[in-house]
């Protein structure tokens, strides 16, 4: 049985050639890289691709779902989808749960009707590409995080009467001016700090190719 000593290691051979002391580690290292070059190249290609597929694609998908919203301060206007958009007025109607007195309404106690009038004026030279339009109310200050309301459909049950010259249908494809009246049923106190978001999309399916206008309500 041969006893391994530092001297024996120093006099070891690589591919039959005896190596001088000191050359072994460097040559052995170079040999290791040469032997494993192909797997290393494969690894270098596969690892980033895996990270991109597993992490990158979902993140990009989430980021691409909605465009960065354009915040439009009260009194200002924004241009999108061939129109100029302006919030003319907004209000909260606090529910009284019925009754006959002054200020009584059919809105249930603890809830409010939040309404906003959004003027849409066509711009000169606007294209006639069909655009879908969806309005929502969003509150980001609640204890459960972001909450979103869709417009009410049955306004009669709360005795809410629309303006004579307004519409609940947001249809910029007509090319005609209109005043959109959006009405939401929310818990009382939602109005301050909430925003009316108007999403405009050419495809109608996603907002990747669209615009998101955000109109803050309240003071």
């Amino acid at each position: 049985m041969t006893e391994s000593t530092p001297a024996a290691v120093a006099a070891a051979t690589v591919n039959g050639d005896e190596l001088p002391a000191g050359d072994l580690p460097r040559r052995a290292r170079r040999g290791w890289w040469r032997r494993n070059l192909l797997p290393l190249l494969v690894l270098a290609a596969v690892l980033p691709a895996t990270v991109y597929v597993v992490l990158g694609l979902p993140v990009l998908e989430i980021l691409g779902r909605e465009p960065t919203p354009t915040v439009v301060p009260a009194g200002d206007s924004a241009e999108a989808a061939g129109y100029e958009w302006t919030v003319l007025d907004s209000a909260e109607f606090v529910g009284t749960g019925g009754g006959d007195g002054d200020g009584a309404n059919a809105i249930p106690l603890g809830t409010s009707i939040v309404a906003a009038l959004v003027q849409a004026t066509p711009l000169d030279g606007a294209s006639d590409v069909p655009v879908t339009c969806q309005a929502t109310l969003t509150d980001r200050g609640s204890r459960v995080g972001e909450r979103t309301w869709a417009p009410l459909v049955d306004l009669d049950q709360y005795d809410y009467v629309l303006g004579a010259d307004t519409t609940t249908l947001c249809d910029p494809a007509t090319g005609e001016p209109f005043v959109l009246e959006v009405v939401f049923l929310t818990p009382t106190g939602t109005y301050e700090g909430a925003t009316v978001d108007i999403a405009l999309s050419a495809s109608g399916l996603t907002l990747r190719d669209g615009t998101l206008l955000r109109f803050p309500l309240g003071d």
């Binding site: 249930p108 603890g110 995080g145 979103t148 309301w149 929310t186």
Partner: protein, 194 residues
């Protein structure tokens, strides 16, 4: 021929045995994706991830009459109707009560979904706005005795699929289940709370 030591052979057999036990003890796929119940009792609001639900009353009837909308005025059944009065509130976005069921003994019954709108099933709940209405379940006669003796569990969930999500489960005493000739079904309404 290469010889294998007895120790290695035993180790291999042991590893196979451990693997067999692990496979045997592994839960079924249905158990893995089962909803997580958040439990409460009648009269208290039970809060799941997507909604809160409170059961205010329960009744059983041989026939129900629908007092609103375009529906046959009376709904007969071969068994009996279990009627659950409940208030439901969603939290974050407009959602519908897509899943409601009662558990009686070992059996689970889904809610009757053909009531005219506005009913609790199919209602579009606005976040933070509680809605009160009735859920209707058609049960076989033999379930009545079990319900009275053991009580029932009413489950509520919003969203398309309750699996891997929390579900509000309300336990109701069976003594409250009393069979009546008829129960009137009213439209679901927003519950005003001062």
């Amino acid at each position: 021929m290469r010889r294998v030591s007895v120790g290695r052979a035993l180790l291999g057999v042991g590893a196979l045995a451990v693997a067999a036990v692990a496979v045997g003890l592994a839960p079924e796929t249905e158990d893995i994706v089962r909803p997580f119940p958040v439990r409460g009792v009648q009269g208290e609001r039970v809060e799941a991830r997507t909604l809160g639900a409170e059961v205010e009353g329960i009744g059983a009837a041989e026939e129900v009459t629908v007092e609103y909308g375009f529906a046959p005025p009376a709904l007969p059944t071969e068994g009996f109707w279990l009627v659950v009065e409940a208030t439901v509130t969603t939290w974050k976005e407009r959602q519908s009560l897509t899943y409601a069921s009662v558990r009686v003994g070992d059996a689970t019954y889904r809610t009757f979904s053909s009531l005219p709108a506005p009913a609790l099933v199919g209602y579009s709940f606005d976040p933070g706005v509680p809605v009160t209405g009735q859920l209707l379940f058609e049960l076989p006669d033999e379930a009545l005795d079990t319900a009275v003796a053991e009580g029932i569990e009413v489950s509520f969930a919003a969203g398309i699929d309750p699996r891997l999500d929390t579900v509000a489960v309300v336990e109701v005493e069976g003594s409250d289940v009393e069979l009546r000739p008829t129960i009137a079904i009213e439209r679901a309404v927003v519950e005003g709370r001062g």
